[in-house]
Amino acid sequence: MRHLKSINQKAQRIEGVLQNDVVALQQGPGGPTGPHVPLGCSFVFSPGWEVDSNGGTAGLCQPVERDLFDCHITCFWPAHVPDLYNHAPDWTAKCASAQKDWRKIDLVFP
């Protein structure tokens, strides 16, 4: 890395992983200059991508979690969630991790 300097041992391990990252979409000519940057969820998380940018499956499209914490803010895909700007700003306050805590999400009625 040129801009960041790894100081502790964990940072050095992460740097080692980044240098050998698997790149799916190459960024411009000359090959990858850094880790793969997703260009929007439909590119990266659409079904059909067998592995995520870390070579695992945890970052792949998981509709429930993605709808709750991502799609409803920015994605074109409609997600039925409460109005978090006006009426229910804290509806996910007790939900630290969607995979585990989704039962703690408040039921909100219009």
């Binding site: 890395m1 040129r2 801009h3 960041l4 300097k5 790894s6 100081i7 502790n8 041992q9 964990k10 940072a11 391990r13 992460i14 980044l18 990252d21 200059t33 850094g34 880790p35 940057v37 997703p38 260009l39 929007g40 969820c41 990266v44 998380f45 695992g56 945890a58 970052g59 998981q62 979690e65 914490f69 991502d70 803010i73 920015t74 994605c75 007790k94 939900c95 630290a96 991790s97 995979q99 585990k100 805590d101 703690k104």
Partner: protein
């Protein structure tokens, strides 16, 4: 692509700026362009093009973009549409080898310290329900249990705890002799240690420490006035004058392993700087470690908010001393900062606050196995017995329910890789359950962790060779 700041804590040390990344616990140093990118993102989400444009007067677009790539790579920033998904916690497929077994060799003590969690108002184990002393058969069985649970580990740590451990010195001798004999047969190294109040130290015992390389920690609260506030005999007499000559003799003779002091801080005893001066500089302990008393909040010796501020100021003074000594190439004995620096350097990101329940187990006087020495003897925290082995189902349930992912309160805290919710025993005493994070000292932990990060960052700039000693 809209970019947003990720989860990190920024700090500085020496002349450099750093990020402590969460939850990876990586520490990276920022250059000017990376710092500028993060500053821009502090005021709101921006695209890479907007960032390149707004910083165009100082850096080229390529320079800004390559900095963004690196920040994305370490997850200091992320795309708004694709925030990093925390990896699901994976259960270890291997059984967890035991590294440290703590034997509570007796629940009896010849002191009557007012704040003691074993006997005081917050005790877990009712007196009279367990034998007062561990017998030799149980101790031998515990040693066999330790080797059986240690798996392939080349070494094991056997720690004696109490009560006052030296009240059962005869058993200590036979237990350690047996452990060393079995260790030699099995090709495993046995490291022994114990904690004592020093009242019963005598020549024969110190000889035994020396012959067996026993690491010794002395529970002591400071100079006479500080020590005798709580650390008293049952008739109310202070213990300082009894222990001082014994400690001096111990320090003069036992050179095989460093002898440390372990201080319990209370609302009435918070002057950590003067305590440190006395124990390290005047008495000559190798190192001094401090821990706040474990107590429910209503006790008169509990540390209140103002007390935590005073405590922090004292810790910061000692941390600053530690730093200047380290830069000068000299040793400082404040072990709290050293322990945290090691964890920062390794980049530890803890799933659980400590090793209790997996790498470390405690054994009660009757052979019942518990999370750690503080819970030894408590039936509701039992994880098996040295006679029947670890209850692996109970252990797995404990580890799952106490995982950091289940501590919702911690999910937004940047200090969670190091704290992970804090001591189970503290939580049990304060809130009645081990699953609760210790929310009463969150502010303190964050402030103290920040201090340690600043010390670490300064060392990385001024004495990078020092960091290698932390490995």
């Amino acid at each position: 692509m809209m970019l947003r700041r990720g989860e990190y804590h920024s700090f500085s040390g020496g002349d450099a700026r750093y990020l402590y990344l969460v939850p990876s616990a990586a520490v990276v140093e920022l250059d000017d362009v990376s710092h500028a990118v993060l500053e821009r993102l502090a005021t709101g989400d921006r695209t890479a093009n907007e960032l390149a444009e707004s910083l165009g007067a100082r850096w080229s677009g390529d320079e800004v973009r390559s900095s963004i790539d690196e920040l994305l790579g370490v997850r200091a920033i992320h795309s708004v549409v694709a925030p990093p998904v925390a990896p699901p916690s994976v259960k270890s497929k291997r059984s967890i080898p035991l590294q440290t077994l703590v034997l509570n060799v007796t629940s009896k003590c010849n002191l009557s310290c007012g704040y003691c969690y074993e006997y005081g108002e917050d005790r877990i184990v009712e007196s009279g329900t367990k034998p007062r002393f561990m017998d030799e058969a149980t101790a031998k069985q515990s040693v066999d249990f330790m080797f059986a649970e240690a798996g392939d580990s080349p070494s094991v740590n056997l720690t004696f705890f109490g009560g006052e451990t030296l009240l059962n010195f005869k058993m200590l001798k036979s237990a350690l002799a047996y452990a060393k004999q079995r260790g030699a047969e099995l090709g495993k190294q046995v490291n022994a240690s114990l904690t004592t109040n020093a009242t019963l130290l005598r020549e024969e015992i110190v000889d035994w420490f020396i012959e067996n390389d026993v690491g010794v920690t002395v529970s002591i609260d400071g100079a006479r006035e500080q020590q005798d506030k709580f650390r008293v005999f049952s008739n109310g007499m202070g213990s300082y004058d009894i222990i001082l000559p014994r400690i001096k003799d111990l320090l003069a003779r036992h050179r095989r392993k460093p002898v440390g002091a372990r201080v319990t801080l209370t609302g009435q005893n918070l002057d950590v700087v003067s305590i440190y001066r006395h124990l390290f500089e005047e008495i000559g302990f190798w190192e001094v470690g401090f821990a706040p008393v474990t107590t429910s909040w209503q006790r008169e010796y509990a540390i209140e908010d103002l007390g935590f501020q005073q405590l922090l100021a004292g810790f910061q003074t000692l941390a600053a001393e530690y730093l200047s000594e380290a830069i000068a190439g000299r040793r400082h004995g404040f072990s709290n900062v050293r322990d945290t620096l090691e964890e920062i350097h390794k980049g530890m990101s803890k799933s659980h606050p400590c090793g209790a329940g997996f790498g470390l187990l405690g054994v009660a006087t009757d052979g019942d196995v518990a999370l750690c020495h503080r819970f030894a003897g408590s039936d509701s925290h039992k994880l098996g017995s040295v006679f029947s082995g670890v209850d692996h189902a109970a252990q797995a349930t404990f580890l799952e329910t106490h995982h950091i992912d289940n501590k919702t309160d911690c999910s937004t805290c940047w200090a969670r890789p190091l704290c992970a919710g804090g001591c189970y025993h503290e939580a049990h005493t304060r809130y009645g359950t081990t699953t609760q994070p210790n929310l009463h000292y969150c502010e303190w932990i964050r402030a103290w962790t920040n201090t340690c990060l600043e010390v670490y960052g300064t060392l990385a700039t001024k004495r990078p060779d020092f960091l290698t000693h932390l490995s």
